[in-house]
Symmetry: C2
């Protein structure tokens, strides 16, 4: 039996980065969770179907957050002027170990998921913690909430405090346990997640690459976030050609779908490898600032034809709302362009594309309202934002710049309403 | 008769930029709108006074916004990737002329004032529009709302579209009318406001300087926001030594209390003049990004001993919430420091100081809870922000980074509760 959902409203999305598709007061037909078509007048065959009429509101694709740490959610917006190592020691590591406690994990992850959904992120690529038990809780919470996600138990077996690293064996065993338990889920699925090269032994990377290939699972990690880190990786893996090559040689760099956070200081050879292997880069602009990493050369990567999406990078980034990342991406691209006039700033549709269809690439067909795409959508009520009549493109921009969770009045994942 | 107000809670403020003063569960006594003292135990003489007990909430100084355009409020977050001139033509000028209509002005300014207060800005230094009538409405609305403000009718007599410039005579007459009407107000007072040098004739500047001296009124304008503008000023005023000197030679640069927005590209001589004349600079970090001006060298100016505050610069900046400016100031200082390692990033207490006592300098004694300061305060309820117990300094930082108007549960201006 076909399940038909019909919405009416102002429909906006980006099929290509450069142009916003705008359908004023149109009908959007969803069949079995997928977009079937957009019509100015409802075709006769749907005449007897009920229509959810959203009037003059905006209907846009849900946000896709390509990089964030669920276990760091409680430390959002704190210690933001500490040095990275001090910050990790004072907040992050201490916090992450608490996720062994299932009750703590459940309480934090429920708030985390509620906030994510409230702010319109309907697909997310998430680092949990090293705790297998805690990660299991995160899977279950996200399933209950109805959001789409890849969730990774974090793998670390060296170069971090004893109380949060595991043995290689335990780390792999926990990972495989979660894979077996959740790999057939429809919306919340496992992803292979070495924290990053420096906290991984060669054995760990090798076995994680093996798991990715064995189960054909996607991979996420961190790449080239700051210069000290890059030098450290060079010391730890002298046999590798560069940082990207460390992952590449262990089948963790595009051999299966892969998303790498940051990638700020990639050299020529790494850019080519990212492109050749179809690795997706997650640009996390607030984190670029907060952790004092520097600005990712986004336009350069776009010109190179790389695939990019946006990440909130909670808690290196402080805002879980991905529209904030859209704005910051535009802002940082302007600043970058001031020093590098050969690279044009990002337009708002381009940044919106990154936050929807761009990052959506990791999840199959989502982030757009083209036919066959999963209907992951937000309904935006923007009356409260300011006075005055403006065009639909301006209204979308205004929501992205000054709107918040209060302006999102409905959320759909694969055609199902969630978050009410 | 003394009017006594006593609050209990966690009291945080900055006496000096480098250090946060923290009084856990203390009493704050306000007499006739001024802070009288902070006590761990209530002194016997106040024993019979009622206490507003805010429990574990934070009590902090209200925000002081040193630069924003009330008439641009409806265009917040729109046209943000247009070039400055295009943006002014497509949105700003068209909008500003509508403020001749009193009903339009009243509707917009009421929303503006409500949003300002909701987000905790209790003192603001505001550009209205060139409309005398519209500016009168803004004075009246702000008075009704109980906020503290300097309000300037914008003066322009050249180099802008005909439909919003005035003759020099009309511009001065309107300004003096408003001065006479409002100069004895307690909280909402006039400020001399040439839009900026390029839209001002020499006659206009001369007469405005005369009004500032005659009535001893403060002055606000724009200074050195981007390189094209600086070159333009050089062409228009070849007799001046530099941009700052244009204002200086017309008694609009510290001869009375003066705040200048931006000041990004000041040369050695200008920095010395700013310092010598005690001119306050308004740093508007979001605007630095949105209008692609570049980053103000804030630490350099602080090292030079200049007085600085923060501005939202609505609508060059998109967020009316000044805690966003605090965060962006820290973020941009980090980025600046990455390229200029000799300049340390801003700490959170330093940025908070700028947004309170720093900008407060223009308003006399406000922005701190030292004895004799006006009790302009916010009460912060931060339970909803994230799980976990953290110290008071962390909780303030978290509110600044991820909090919003929903976390502000009470507002006081000179000891009077407003905004309820």
């Amino acid at each position: 039996m076909e399940k038909i959902l019909i919405l009416k409203g102002n429909i906006l999305f980006t099929k290509i980065p450069e142009r916003l598709e705008v359908y004023q007061h149109h009908y959007l037909v969803v069949i079995n969770g997928k977009v079937a078509g957009i019509y100015p007048v409802l075709p006769p065959k749907y005449e007897n179907c009920p229509v959810e009429d959203y009037g003059d509101r905006l209907i846009i694709p849900g946000f896709v957050d390509l990089h964030l740490h669920a276990a760091q959610f409680p430390q959002c917006g704190m210690g933001m002027t500490k040095q990275l190592l001090q910050w990790l020691n004072d907040y992050t590591f201490d916090l992450e170990k608490q996720f062994q406690d299932e009750n703590f994990a459940r309480e934090v992850y429920q708030r985390f998921a509620d906030q994510l959904i409230a702010h319109g992120t309907l697909r997310a690529c998430i680092f949990a913690s090293t705790s297998t038990k805690g990660t299991e809780v995160l899977f279950d919470v996200l399933k209950e909430k109805g959001i789409g996600a890849y969730v990774g138990k974090v793998n670390m077996d060296r170069n971090a405090p004893d109380f949060i690293i595991e043995t290689t064996e335990d780390s792999i065993a926990g990972t495989e346990y979660l894979i077996e338990k959740y790999r057939h889920e429809r919306l919340v699925k496992p992803i292979i997640t070495p924290r990053f090269a420096p906290t991984s032994s060669r054995e760990l990377l090798e076995q994680l690459g093996g798991l990715a290939l064995k189960y054909h699972l996607p991979v996420q990690s961190h790449l080239s976030e700051n210069r000290d880190e890059i030098n450290w990786v060079r010391q730890l893996f002298p046999e590798a050609r560069n940082y990207a090559d460390v992952y590449h040689r262990y089948a963790l760099f595009g051999q299966t779908p892969t998303v790498m956070a940051h990638g700020i200081y990639l050299d020529r050879e790494e850019i080519d490898l990212v492109k050749r292997n179809g690795v997706i880069l997650a640009h996390c602009p607030d984190s670029n600032l907060n952790v004092q990493s520097g600005i990712m050369p986004l336009r350069k990567y776009l010109n190179e034809g790389l695939t990019l999406g946006l990440g909130s990078d909670i808690a290196g980034g402080h805002k879980i709302a991905l529209n904030e990342a859209v704005v910051r991406a535009v802002q940082l691209s302007k600043l970058f362009s001031l020093d590098h006039p050969e690279y044009q700033p990002l337009s708002v549709p381009e940044a919106f594309y990154l936050a929807t269809k761009g990052g959506g690439a990791l999840f199959g067909r989502t982030g757009s309202f083209e036919e066959g795409y999963a209907f992951d959508a937000l309904v935006i009520e923007d009356d409260s934002l300011t006075a005055g009549r403006y065009c639909l493109a301006d209204r979308l921009e205004r929501f992205l710049y000054i709107g918040d969770d209060r302006n999102i009045c409905a959320r759909f994942v694969e055609g199902e309403k969630i978050g009410d």
